[in-house]
Subunit: 213 residues, 2 copies
C-alpha cells in the first residue's frame, strides 16, 4: 500500500493512525502542502481533487480519509475500528463526521487562502475564523460525550474507533493554534489516553521519520 | 422513525431519499432553518449540535446524514445503497464524502452568516464564495466520474448509491444558486436520471407536503 500524505495534514494523520492500529505496513509518498505539491500534475493524475490523503492499493486509488479507513477496517478486521452493533456504529460514524465534515473542512489551508485572497481577511481574522469553528465543534463533541453512557477510555468503550481517529488529529491542530483543551475535559482525557498508544504516537506529525513528514 | 429535518436542508434531503429508496415510513418533525428553529432548546436536547437532520429510532438519536444513511442501509439491506465489493464501497463513500465533507459544509447557512457578520462580506461576496466551492467540487466530482469505468446510469453502476444520494441535493442547491450543470455533463446526466425516480422526486424540497417542508 502506498499512502500519499503530508505530515501536518490532519486527514493524513487519521489514516496513519488507522494503518498503525491494524499493524499494516505502507510506503509514504509525501506531498508538501506548504509548497502546494498536492497540486502537481503528477499527483493530480493520482487524485484529481488534489487533496490529501490518497491510498493506492490493489491497483486502485482511494480518496477521502474516512472512506479509506472503512476500507482498511474491512481489509483487516482486527482490531475493529467500529463497534459491531448498528446504533453504536452510527454513533461513532457521527462523531467522526462531526470532525471530518463539520469541522476540518472549515479550517483547512485552502479555506484560509480563500479568506485572505478573495475576502480580504488578515491573519487575525483567519485565526478568529479557525478558533470559532473549532470551539463550536468541540462544544458539540463534548456534549455528545457528556450525554452518552458509551464513552469509556475512548469515545466509544474500551478500544479506539474511527471517532478517536478523527478527534485526535483535530485536537492536535487546535492545540497548535492555541486552544486549550481544558475547557473540554472529556475530549482532553480521551485525547491524552489515545496519545499514550504507539499507533497514535507514531502517526503524530512530530514523530514522523524523514520522507514521511 | 422520526426524522428531524427541514425541506431545504440538503443533508435532510439526502436522508429522505435513502428512506424513500428503502420504502421505510417515517414521521417528519420540521425545523425551519430560516427562523433558526434548529437552535431551539427543545431540539438542542435532541441534537446538541443544533444541526439537521437527526433520526430518532429505537430510543436513540442518530446524527450526521451519512452515518444515518449507513444505519438505514444496515437496518433494511434491500435495495443496497452501497456496492458489495470493498474497493467499490470505498469509491462510493469517497464520492459521497466529496460532497458531504468537502463541499456542503462550506456553503451552509451558518458559514454564510459568519462571512457576513464577522468577515464583513456582502451578499455578492457570499454568493461568490458559494459558487467558488461548488465549482471546485463539481470539477473534481466530474473528473472522478470521467476517469472511472464504474459509472453507469448512476455514479456507480445501475442502481443508486450513497454517492447519488449526496450528489443530487447538492446539485439542486447549485442550480438554485444559478449554476448550470451543462459544464458537468456526467453529473448532469446522473442527476437527471435520479430525479426521474419517485424516491428522489418525493424527497425534493419542492414536492414535500405541508408539515414536512
Amino acid at each position: 500500500m502506498k499512502l500519499h500524505a503530508y505530515g501536518r495534514s490532519s486527514a493524513s494523520f487519521r489514516v496513519r493512525i488507522a494503518l498503525n492500529l491494524k499493524g499494516l505496513s505502507y510506503e509514504t509518498v509525501s506531498h508538501d502542502l506548504t509548497r502546494d505539491e498536492q497540486r502537481d500534475s503528477h499527483y493530480l493524475s493520482v487524485n484529481p481533487q488534489g487533496l490529501l490523503p490518497a491510498l493506492e492499493d490493489d491497483g486502485a486509488v482511494l480518496t477521502q480519509s474516512l472512506a479509506i479507513i472503512e476500507y482498511i477496517d474491512a481489509k483487516k478486521p482486527e482490531p475493529p475500528l467500529l463497534p459491531r452493533e448498528q446504533l453504536a456504529r452510527a454513533r461513532v460514524r457521527a462523531l467522526a463526521q462531526l470532525i471530518a465534515a463539520d469541522t476540518h473542512p472549515l479550517v483547512t489551508k485552502r479555506v484560509a487562502q480563500r479568506l485572505r485572497d478573495d475576502c480580504g481577511q488578515d491573519e487575525q481574522a483567519v485565526q478568529r475564523w479557525r478558533l470559532h469553528w473549532l470551539h463550536v465543534s468541540f462544544r458539540a463533541f463534548e456534549t455528545h460525550l457528556a450525554t452518552s453512557a458509551e464513552d469509556g477510555r475512548f469515545c466509544h468503550g474500551g478500544s479506539p474507533t474511527i471517532a478517536d481517529i478523527a478527534l485526535v488529529p483535530q485536537a492536535v491542530v487546535a492545540e497548535q493554534l492555541g486552544i486549550s483543551l481544558n475547557a473540554y475535559p472529556l475530549i482532553s482525557r480521551i485525547v491524552e489516553g489515545c496519545l499514550q498508544l504507539p499507533a497514535f504516537q507514531d502517526a503524530h506529525p512530530d514523530n514522523l521519520g524523514r520522507g514521511e513528514a
